[in-house]
């Protein structure tokens, strides 16, 4: 069976799996960006305790594996009375993991804004929150977008792990099809191509567009 016949026969399941992958991707992105912003800002806080919290979070999530985090959230958290379904466990693990990496990008982006900008914002008597929100963050965002592009690809790839707690994403469907048909080359090959299309022709172009859009908005293009 060639790969076209394979896709013609199994496309509904591949499509369903891809839909689930995209859903996991979006939810994990939402969570990941939020976590990254919070942790990145916390790591820059003058308060030692706040900073230590952020460092601990970041080191734990960057120092262990996504797979361990996923298993821990799904299998161990219920023992503490926090029971979450596999769908939620999936994107929460991916999002929290990526958030830790993103926090470093947020921190780096903020530090890359020239000191003169802080001083200028202070000189017009902005409050610390205003300075951050109105002056620093917009510029930091433009600076950190290029590495975020790579991180988003890592996030997309990370979602494949949710198949290991039986979330019916593209990886999971592919494995199921492989298990029942033994058409390994076709099944895994098709999935590789779909992931590649998502990464190369959707995520990356969107991030490039976002970079260009932000640069234009900041008057840098």
């Amino acid at each position: 069976m060639n790969i076209f016949d394979f896709v013609a026969q199994y496309w509904p399941r591949l499509l369903a799996g891809t839909g689930m992958t995209v859903a996991q991707f979006f939810l994990a992105t939402l969570l990941g960006v939020t976590v990254a912003l919070i942790m990145g800002l916390m790591k820059l806080s003058p308060n030692k305790l706040v900073r230590a919290t952020a460092v601990t979070y970041i080191e734990i999530f960057r120092g262990t594996s996504l797979l361990i985090q996923l298993y821990w959230i799904f299998f161990v958290l219920p023992l503490f009375g926090v029971s979450i379904d596999k769908f939620t466990a999936g994107y929460v693990a991916v999002g929290m993991n990526i958030g830790a990496y993103g926090a470093e990008l947020v921190r780096g982006g903020i530090l890359s804004v020239p000191k003169g900008q802080w001083e200028a914002a202070l000189a017009i008597n902005m409050s610390p929150a205003q300075r951050m929100r109105r002056v620093i963050l917009p510029q930091a965002l433009v600076n950190m977008l290029p590495p975020w592009g790579n991180l988003m690809i890592e996030l997309l790839k990370g979602t494949a792990l949710v198949s290991l707690i039986s979330v019916a994403d593209l990886m999971f469907e592919t494995k199921q099809i492989n298990g029942s048909t033994f058409l390994s080359a076709q099944a895994f090959g098709a999935a590789l191509v779909i992931y590649y299309i998502l990464a190369r022709f959707m995520v990356t172009p969107f991030m490039r567009w976002l970079e260009a859009y932000m640069a234009r908005k900041m008057g840098r293009a």
Binding site: Y71, T174, N178, L183
Partner: protein, 222 residues
């Protein structure tokens, strides 16, 4: 802590240590493959042949854009379809080695690009062959600026070895899964695996930074 059984934790510790050995072995072997293969991928992208450069570039892009987990399955299951049987270890090493070779090729490329043009010219003026140029002049200078990237991916490979559990490589997660299903207890094995990972990757990151500084100084690069 809630329901934590020290006795049980103590009992499974030896098994986890053995698995740690396997994890480190897998990471080391995968990294060795990636280090060497990555260099070839980087140099191939600087070849004068447009076709070779294009093919390698696209291959690297493809492998970097798709999940390692899927690649592990692909290599493990597709072989037998064509009569090639690879052991879990073998498939795992090929998958991880190839995946990270692509990342390392980008690190090397960055390092090679950071070597000033004058160094290439001086090498030509000394009448060096292409191999001599890379081996004696370019790579020694590219490595210091590539070191931090190389170190990050060593830790990265270590943290990705748990994916090998899916094809039955007896590394840490695989062992934790086995313990968990034997005893119906997941709290201790998964938590301990997490701590073991932290205990290795955090000092490793520090160590890498130390080595980086050493190498730079030893090479006379400040």
């Amino acid at each position: 802590m809630f329901d934590w059984k020290w006795e049980f934790a103590w009992e499974i510790l030896p098994r986890l240590f053995v698995a740690t050995g396997n994890t480190l072995l897998a990471a080391g072997a995968g990294y060795a493959i990636a280090l060497v293969l990555g260099l070839f991928l980087a140099i191939a992208q600087r070849s004068p042949s447009r076709a070779l450069t294009f093919v390698v570039r696209e291959l690297v892009e493809f492998i970097r854009s798709t999940p390692l987990l899927l690649q592990i399955f692909f290599i493990f299951y597709v072989g037998p379809q064509f009569g090639i049987r690879l052991s879990p270890w073998m498939s795992g090493m090929i998958a991880i080695g190839l995946h990270y070779a692509c990342y390392l090729s980008e690190v090397y490329r960055g390092g090679i690009d950071s070597v000033p043009k004058g160094q290439w010219e001086a090498a030509i003026a000394l009448n060096m062959t292409t191999v001599q140029k890379y081996r004696r002049v370019i790579i020694p200078q590219a490595i210091p600026s590539a070191l931090s990237g190389m170190g990050n991916y060593l830790v990265g490979i270590f943290k990705d070895t748990p994916m090998l559990s899916v094809i039955g490589v007896a590394e840490l997660i695989h062992t934790a899964n086995a313990i968990g299903s034997e005893h119906y207890r997941f709290l201790e094995p998964y938590t301990m695996v997490g701590i073991l990972f932290l205990a290795i990757s955090l000092p490793a990151a520090g160590l890498i930074r130390l080595v980086e500084g050493r190498v730079r100084r030893k090479m006379g690069l400040k």
